[in-house]
């Protein structure tokens, strides 16, 4: 596997589903290991970002909109 090919497998790597040849490549390629580390940083930072919370009246608004469909 080449560095360019590995770029398309980065998500599989961080999801723990990397193909074997990707793992072999990572064992010998510092650049790609850094790329994986950076992507993990992004993935974890995004996951830790506070999730937007719906306004308290939204559920009621949805109910009213659905009722109008009757």
């Amino acid at each position: 596997m080449t560095c360019k090919n590995l770029q398309y497998e980065l998500d599989a790597v961080i999801d723990g589903q990397a193909p074997v040849d990707a793992l072999f490549h990572l064992a010998i390629c510092d650049g790609c290991r850094r790329a994986v580390a950076d992507l993990r940083l992004l993935h974890r930072a995004a996951a830790a970002t506070p999730r937007p919370v719906a306004p308290t009246d939204l559920r009621r608004r949805i109910t009213e909109a659905l009722a109008a469909e009757l």
Binding site: Y8, L42, A46, A48, P52, T63
Partner: protein, 236 residues
């Protein structure tokens, strides 16, 4: 005897609630040759959730409005969060969420109950968001102008530096063109796998990988000025 009312029975319970509970108990307890086995792993719980959702979807598709309400309860917060991340505006996100569920109700009969519901809802939501964004021309409003409601119980012990990094990454993602913004939101904020994203965007997995590759290349460019000043690492 004629004229004698039967005693009230489990019919008084909502039929879908009782059926769901019965199925859940059957799933958790496997009685065989007098022995009981309780299955309690993460995979089984996820399967149970899918099983329960499938039950609600089947009933909703048959016209059971309470079942559809159950699905709304299960998913509306996630749909709102997804809409907000795309539109960056609370009122627009609320409108998008409402419209998403109205459209879902209209087409629930055609939905394949064997599939998970969330990717389908996100697909509807994404298309609704595109329509709203185009009609309101709000693509370039800075995020500071919008009401951003945070979940209660945030970990306030995060260093200000970590919070600042997250803000910078989010801002950089939000500056990308809509297609690439959306795919990064699905992958990193919604934590969806590539195959799930493929379902949401109705594109082959290979195409999704290509788009992710390009989106990250664009994100690197957005973050490059920050890297030069040593404020953050560049994502892959």
């Amino acid at each position: 005897m004629a004229g004698v009312d039967r005693p009230r029975s489990n019919r008084d319970l909502r039929p879908n609630s009782l059926e769901i509970l019965t199925n859940a108990l059957r799933f958790l307890y496997n009685i065989s040759s007098g022995s009981q086995r309780i299955v309690n792993t993460e995979i089984e719980m996820k399967t149970l959730t899918i099983h329960l959702e499938r039950d609600l979807v089947t009933k909703a598709a048959a016209g059971d409005r309470r079942a559809f309400d159950g699905l709304v309860d299960q998913h509306y917060q996630a749909v709102y969060a997804h809409a907000f991340r795309i539109l960056r505006n609370s009122e627009d996100a609320s409108d998008a969420t409402q419209t998403t569920f109205v459209k879902a109700l209209r087409s629930i009969k055609e939905f394949d109950v064997e599939r998970p519901m969330r990717p389908w809802l996100y697909r509807i939501c994404g298309n609704v968001c595109i329509d709203i964004a185009r009609s309101r021309h709000r693509a370039n409003e800075p995020i500071e102008n919008h009401s951003y409601m945070l979940e209660s119980g945030d970990d306030l012990e995060d260093a200000a530096e970590q919070s600042d990094l997250k803000d910078k990454i989010l801002k950089a993602i939000l500056n990308l063109p809509e297609k690439y913004r959306r795919i990064l939101i699905l992958r990193h904020y919604e934590q969806m796998a590539v195959e799930e994203i493929a379902e949401v965007l109705e594109a082959p997995e290979g195409t999704i990988k290509s788009w992710l590759f390009r989106a990250r290349a664009m994100l690197r460019k957005e973050l490059a000025p920050l890297v030069e000043t040593g404020l953050c690492e560049v994502p892959a």
